[in-house]
Symmetry: D2
Amino acid sequence: MKVAVIGAGYWGPNLIRNFLSQDEVENVIACDRDENRLAKMRKTFHGIETSTEYEDVIKRADVEIVAIATPVSLHYEIAKKSLSAGKHCWIEKPMTVSVVEAEELIELAERNNLKIFVDHTFIYTGAVRKMKEIITSGRLGELYYFDSVRVNLGLFQHDVNVIWDLAPHDLSIMDYLLESKPLAVSATGSCHVGNGLEDIAYLTVQFENNLIAHFHVNWLAPVKIRKTLIGGTKSMIVYDDTEASEKLKIYDKGIEVTTREGVYDTLVQYRTGDMLSPKLEQTEALNLAAQHFIDCVKNDKKPLTDGTSGLNVVRILEASEVSIKNQGKLITL
Amino acid sequence: MKVAVIGAGYWGPNLIRNFLSQDEVENVIACDRDENRLAKMRKTFHGIETSTEYEDVIKRADVEIVAIATPVSLHYEIAKKSLSAGKHCWIEKPMTVSVVEAEELIELAERNNLKIFVDHTFIYTGAVRKMKEIITSGRLGELYYFDSVRVNLGLFQHDVNVIWDLAPHDLSIMDYLLESKPLAVSATGSCHVGNGLEDIAYLTVQFENNLIAHFHVNWLAPVKIRKTLIGGTKSMIVYDDTEASEKLKIYDKGIEVTTREGVYDTLVQYRTGDMLSPKLEQTEALNLAAQHFIDCVKNDKKPLTDGTSGLNVVRILEASEVSIKNQGKLITL
Amino acid sequence: MKVAVIGAGYWGPNLIRNFLSQDEVENVIACDRDENRLAKMRKTFHGIETSTEYEDVIKRADVEIVAIATPVSLHYEIAKKSLSAGKHCWIEKPMTVSVVEAEELIELAERNNLKIFVDHTFIYTGAVRKMKEIITSGRLGELYYFDSVRVNLGLFQHDVNVIWDLAPHDLSIMDYLLESKPLAVSATGSCHVGNGLEDIAYLTVQFENNLIAHFHVNWLAPVKIRKTLIGGTKSMIVYDDTEASEKLKIYDKGIEVTTREGVYDTLVQYRTGDMLSPKLEQTEALNLAAQHFIDCVKNDKKPLTDGTSGLNVVRILEASEVSIKNQGKLITL
Amino acid sequence: MKVAVIGAGYWGPNLIRNFLSQDEVENVIACDRDENRLAKMRKTFHGIETSTEYEDVIKRADVEIVAIATPVSLHYEIAKKSLSAGKHCWIEKPMTVSVVEAEELIELAERNNLKIFVDHTFIYTGAVRKMKEIITSGRLGELYYFDSVRVNLGLFQHDVNVIWDLAPHDLSIMDYLLESKPLAVSATGSCHVGNGLEDIAYLTVQFENNLIAHFHVNWLAPVKIRKTLIGGTKSMIVYDDTEASEKLKIYDKGIEVTTREGVYDTLVQYRTGDMLSPKLEQTEALNLAAQHFIDCVKNDKKPLTDGTSGLNVVRILEASEVSIKNQGKLITL
């Protein structure tokens, strides 16, 4: 199997490295308009092929997978051409710049019996997989909220705002962990640089049963915070990705509600117990992701983070942008 | 000078203790409907007077200050009677349950030439006073944002939601630190207990010049977080009230925007430097607050946290509640 | 039952408060040479008796317990007189300035059928009791080491060095947690102020079976560290007393030693697993201690921290001082 | 310039990578007895030469520097042959297994007019260089103590104990930062595995003027601690190498000693002020080290970490081992 990686900028080299390390991958073809980048790739990854013309490469018979690591505005066009040429597609996050584009790609892939994989890398980390296991086991009880903060002094993107840059990570984790379907989005934000792109933003996502999710993304924070709180009736999780060890802590804490029969008052008390920080798998997430996609392609399985996952995230991103332009108005999904 | 403290529940004893420790205070009269609480007060604070009838006490000629530490729904009525009886008023936060009530009290106090002090205790801490000093000195540059998180596994109030319970702390800090006037509020939240009161909420406050403030308050968090980030063009502050020492950190960090003449592109880079954690004054905030109010009463000065400060906070609380009932709709202040 | 508390300086008031709160205690008599201190005690604890003449008080028939909170150099004399007068004795840590004194007091108490309680307060904290429970359960396996650090910018004692001031806390915890008997001590230290008292010191305590304990005590540290590591074959404990919550963490970590039969080499690997931070009891340790001692007195039980515990600690302190004067020479206990 | 790297196990590849990245280095020749390792090196570092016979390589005319990354027991022999062959030597830490060996190598290098560089990598980190700058500036005042803890669940060496494995890092930092000459060493430790090598140890190093240094090294700790405290009369440093940012904190704290004239007593008070965490250089230490050594070789300069630095560390290691075998006896250096 050969893999074409389109885009050899910031993230592309990570894809090349991880695809090369897969037993099933015979070789990688790196594509970029910039010949300097390709020269660098040839030096770093001895023996790989390179090309400045991705359109030629995606038509090659020996290429089975096309991995797209270009600016997000180009994802749709390249994925469409690749799917049309009969190739399975690995698309970086966010999948596309709009719901319409994502839906079209999903439909095209289905029609051609091809797989789309969206690179929501965090889903393949030990921490997120452990949280999925815990939530699925019922240990948290009924879920109350999902609260995420992802802030730092950021490298500025020139083409997208902080929501499209940072929120896909947390939205994809939410999409993976929560069974419920998000109903509506409200977002606020602000931009402080002349480019008109928000550099700080807050998203609220509403679900059924009073489940609420909230996201704080910020390129202007002096410290790096990557913290997610997940609260349930029985226990609660703190996931801190900046911790070297003990990234995940499960608190046997919660509230107890006693509604006395025939009585108006509700008695609410809190309950505290032990905290457990489970051992996490250490395998590199991107490597697991590449392995998983190859397995899906070879054995005709549905990827964990398929086009629908990608679409779910894009749908919220798109709605957030509408809401932010409308001063926090609630946008139904 | 004698001080009447109305309400001897959770917070009242702190007021009694701190007023008793002031040189100018001859004695304190503790008032509460509950005789058991009064008995406890007499035991703890030997020599104080007590009464179950506050209306009698506020009419006494020897009482100069009435301090109100009852549930918030009673603040207005008691303050109105006290001001009408010619007494200066110390009112716990939040000042009242509505803007209308707060405005009426302010007007009544002015007419009677009396002082209102709203107990925004945090304003009198070493950390907040140091932040004020730093911001006033221009060290942060132009302000970008004020972001605050105040969450824990909370004791549940039966009469107000989490916004009215926790947000006054942070809103009063914001009101004190920022020179600009808030323009509008958008809020979201959720309740998970049968009492219909939000136990988790998010507020966005909009200002001129793209300054944005945001508040996360939550009674259902397994860990205690009290963290405020304040970002400016030149440097940024992290204020972590759970830290025993080093509550305040000032980062010589920021972004640099270069707009090249005649060129479409804006170049944004970040800049990092030293971090300074200044020594903070350790005096108990409530003691300073009591001392400050007595000074204002005796020397006819305007309290730092007067009725207007209280009103500013109530205005945002009220607007938040409207917004939350309207799904995050932007409410102009 | 009446309790005489001798010494109303730094720690005495805590004893008075905690004895007063016991149901069995009718009243407390505070004794101090300094009448000003006694006046302060009468103001703080309304209704207590006071006296400048402790020798009269310990002879009173209505006094059952004498609690000694004077400088350590006076412990022996006052305890001896109290035991001779037929009173049970609560002695602050360290019990005495020498092994000889401690042994004499123990013998005197036994002869007179009286109880000695040494105030190793930490033994009554939730954290230390939980550690005892864990170690007793066998969860740690065989013990390897006990390592303790207790440093901060300290208030300087004028009569004892940093070892006698800070190490009794950790030595008493070690004495309580470890079943083995210490065999020998080696200590080093240094003094930097003209008074000739060490302000920084390191103690190593040797046990059988290669169990080793080490203590770092320091009055010149810019940060407060209170951290104990306890390592065993099966799991390991980190006890951090500066943590507000999560003071105790139990790591399912250790090493695995495989000695291949007939082969010279030993294969050592490490093993990592989950971490658990158990819920701890929050009751004030000193209150539990007072309650426990009264129970022992009334029901003729042996206190958990009796004269022998006090002696065990003094024996190591004394040996440490000899070792430090002899450049770290190993002193057999 | 060509560089021969002897030993392609754990650390060798880092040397190869960093030497290859130097402009002055034409190529690297990797030497190892194990052909599999060499094959791996050829794959990772395309274009490098490899050899199983280091003795041939060090005689090659085109080789100017020999870098030795073998087990420490082989350092002396290989370095001696390399120096005899006229090559400059880079030796991993610890330099040799004995003082005698280190002295002989230094003398041999001097005689042949060659450079020895000992790879005390930490000296080239931003944190240590900043500490040197601070101490040299006099900001700490007179030094009181140097206290270091380096513990974790360690990979076990089969040939050396925990002192020879971990302490060279901290001893080299101490040697670099402190101007004073160490006078004597006292050490204690324990071993818990059948190989007879200490896995936990404590070293005290004595200096003139009551300056004291202490080192805790431990392979059996459930958490990773890398913390150094340096105390002086004027301010104090905390260096925590596990911190991602803010590795260095300088506390404007200390003690003030007032000796009243004609009075026996000394009054000691402590003083607290601001804390500063300076920005640190981020360049990879090993890269700077390689660059520095090449500069020394080309321009005949004395390396910052030369043979004498290596010898200073070995001298303390050797004395520690003697002390530990003699139960903590003070060994004069």
